[in-house]
Amino acid sequence: MTISAERPTEATAGTASPAGPRSGSSWTNRPGWMSQHLGTAIVLGFLGYVFGHWWGNYLASGYTYIANNGQNGVADFLGLLFMVIGWLLGIGALNYPILKLFGREPGEETPAPGLSRYFRYTLDHKVVGMQYVVGVLLFLFTGGLLAMAIRTELLNPTVHIFNPGTYIEIVSEHGTIMMMMATSIVVGPLGNYLVPLMIGSRRMAFPRVEAFSFWIFSAGYMVIFSALFYGGFPTGWTGYAPLQNQAGPGMISYLFGFAVIGIGMMSAGFNIAVTIVNYRAPGMTWSRVPMFVWSILATASLLTLATPVLFTAGLFGLLDHLVLTSLYVNEHGGSSYLWENLFWFFGHPEVYIMALPGFGIVAEIVPVFTRKPLFAYKVAAAGMMGVALLSFFVWQHHLFQSGINPDMRPLFMLTTELISIPTGFIYLVGMGSLYRGKMRLEVPMLFCLALYFNFLIGGITGVFLSDVPVNVTVHGSFFVLSHFHYTIMGGLVFAFMAGLYYWLPKMTGRMMNKKLGLWHFWTMFVFFNLTFFPMFIIGLLGQPRRVFEYAHNLQGLNDFSSISAFCLGASFLLFFWNLMYSMIINPKKAPANPWESLGLEWQTANPVPLYNFERIPVIVTEPYRYSEPGAPAYADFGGGTGAGAGTVGSSVQE
């Protein structure tokens, strides 16, 4: 079928930059050391910190703001602020706006070839995606190590390895790092890399905003990590005031860190949402959009709309800390409920930011491995958007026992339980897609099945938590802790692994080793459940979260959980070994379409050309038409390149 007549003229522009010709070469792309790259970012970030710290002391010397220590909070804050600014200046994120400010035209923006582009401010969404892979894995690894420390402390109820201050610092840092990581674990790497490929676009809508989102995300990592050097913060990831107001300088890292990460989340979400709405290939109507893209659209909407509240809450906290406002201090006219409301108004959509991309990945992958069309496509899309919408109306279920709006509890109980209806759609879709299929139990599929298993437990226990009478017993206990680990780790992280095993062959051109992958899957799945399932019982038996001492009769269960957690940690080492082995030590070239997928992302050439598609594809039918002989190809490439061009409609591809 040839429908080139319908193709927009811009599609014929070949591989030239779609933004038009420019002259000169920008600092970010200049080869060699005389340019901007990670090294200059580190140097300028360091200098920024030193300058900010000096300036803070210059401005505010003679009075210290932070109780019980000699530090000047203004200096700590300005140090971090100028570190972030220096980092962004050093990497070149601010070149374009600064040049524009002075009326100068920026230089050529074609990314530098070779490995060095991964260490630069690169506007190619595929490079940003790969940068995010490394970024989120660094986050995950840091948070994971802290988790090991927590489980080590909990080996014994009364004999302690850490002092209580260090312990609470570790707990808080673990929670915060993991939450920050989880906001971006799928949207960052897979969303940025795959969305343009899956919607048939050559680029993101705002490539500079996209690159900015990664580099500020990485700055956020440094800011939150800096808390450890400032003595940590004692509030957990929820940062409740007035404990927040009482805390030392590490709290500044937390508040500013969330503000910085928040900017990254907003810019990533905004860019991706605009891209999905406006950059879909011709013919890709809303009923032809891949399910992964639907989930990323829902997530991006949440990132864009919910995060500003967190940003504001963080700024309020910084004001309380640094200029002695009392927004969160009851005694001086503020309210500790203000933080609780602002935080959870962001915090609950955040929970779905950490669930929806996982649903999208399984909905995308399951049809490939069952060789069946996605069951109930519209229900799946409606489910994701429904979850996203409802997630703004449930936040007070975190505050059932707080004494705030007690008469609103039935309403929030209802909205919270209602959200399990659209969440249930994901199960309808999954189970329907398995029905009488021909399942290939490859590693990505195993991770998808594990998501259905784990998230079921996480989701059902969520219904228990939303029930106010039961909440009286389980609120704030290990039961909650286990519940959200089952949803975020059992759901999202398992889905992320499914996504990595599934898409890394496309992203890197190399296959992950299957045998190591199977070992990784089974150890991760088994020890994840052995770690977290006992925590439901521990919680029911009365152990609150974030304690370093607990009842003696709970030691057996805690030890069981801790030892399983160490094995779970080891399973991640297996993953890292597999990653190193398959990508670097003994790389095996991946086939063009190893899973015989019909997805558009597999139809481009390998490695993916700079602008993805030689000609913009035209989408001619719905996705997922597996096992349907005679079905038309998903996309028409007009005879252009693309690994699978011409054979897209066939379910068999050598």
Partner: protein, 322 residues
């Protein structure tokens, strides 16, 4: 095998497993589910948990059996027919409507039941804020009487006992307005009595969790958070802080005990007399303990003329004399 017999097989397995699972849960596991039966709320919260559990188990079994069957039977191995794509493999309107209807009915029923349980059980032992909407009979009157300095309690009567829980880093103090406003660090309660807890904090947010009593209420500085418990059994119970409150949060726990009414009365009158020397220096009973400008370096004593529930009065304390 045709569609029909395959579905019959799955449904049969599901029904059998669900019935067995639910029966086992209800009769073997359910009675041991916390928080037990020490108070009326504990009893009903346990019941509520078990209702949700027997509703949830069939859902869990449905997905597990489906996944298990799919992995064994619908996988890529010799003899398994190729899947059928196209329209036949898409969801029929009936299946979608059925799924949505059934999940909606289950979910809305759970919410309705939870609401009935919450209201019928006077907030289920959870913190109800300064103005509880679902209070047991006489509880509000008793609480107001306590504020007016007229709290009484005797083993013979049936009036509720008011206890103020004052949380601070990192301990709980309990105040008994019916016994001269005495303060203790042990929570002793009489059996078969409606207890009104006025929970507040001196510094940061804590959470008063009397585990076996099924009472959980955040202790917010400057705020009164009221919770109710109707004690039913004598015995020991655990009190823990359930909201992260700083480095010694993990060590913020103690235990309490429910005594017979006469034993409680004996203890209370004895302790009141013992503590009288100290109690006389305490401020009059108020909903909150708020530092104000009159105490040296932010003392902990509220003004005598504080009007409860008006944040301006509570927070805007008298200015120090010029």
């Amino acid at each position: 095998m045709n569609n029909g017999s395959e579905m019959r097989r799955i449904v049969t397995a599901w029904v059998i497993v669900s019935v067995i699972g639910d029966l086992l849960w209800w009769f073997l596991v359910g009675p041991h589910i916390p928080p037990g039966n020490m108070t009326e709320s504990a009893h009903w919260n346990q019941f509520d948990f078990n209702i949700l559990a027997v509703t949830a188990l069939p859902v869990v079994f449905m997905v597990w059996i489906w996944l298990g069957y799919a992995v064994v039977k619908w996988r890529d191995k010799p003899g398994v027919p190729d899947p059928v794509g196209g329209e036949a493999a898409k969801a029929s309107r009936g299946v979608q409507a059925g799924w949505i209807t059934i999940t909606s009915i289950v979910v809305v029923s759970a919410a309705i039941y939870g609401t009935i349980a919450l209201i019928g059980d006077h907030g289920s032992g959870g913190g109800e804020g300064p103005n509880p909407v679902w209070a047991p009979e006489g509880a509000i009157a008793a609480n107001n009487a306590a504020l007016a300095g007229k709290a009484t309690w005797s083993p013979a009567g049936s009036q509720p006992l008011v206890v103020q829980v004052i949380a601070q880093q990192w301990k709980f103090t309990y105040r008994y307005p019916a016994f001269g406003g005495m303060e203790t660090d042990r929570l002793l309660l009489p059996v078969n009595t409606e207890v009104v807890f006025d929970v507040t904090s001196l510094d940061v947010i804590h959470d008063f969790w009397a585990y076996q009593l099924s009472v959980k209420a955040d202790a917010n500085p400057g705020v009164n958070n009221v919770a109710f418990a109707d004690t039913k059994q004598q015995g020991q119970f655990m009190v823990r802080c359930d909201e992260l409150c700083g480095i010694w949060h993990g060590a913020m726990y103690n235990s309490g005990r429910i005594l017979s009414k006469t034993a409680f009365m004996a203890w209370a009158t004895k302790t009141e007399a013992q503590n009288a020397q100290n109690t006389k220096y305490l401020p009059p009973f108020a909903w909150t303990y708020t530092p104000d400008a009159n105490g040296a370096s932010g003392g902990l004593y509220p003004d005598g003329n504080v009007t409860p529930y008006s944040p301006y009065d509570v927070y805007g304390a008298k200015q120090p004399a010029a």
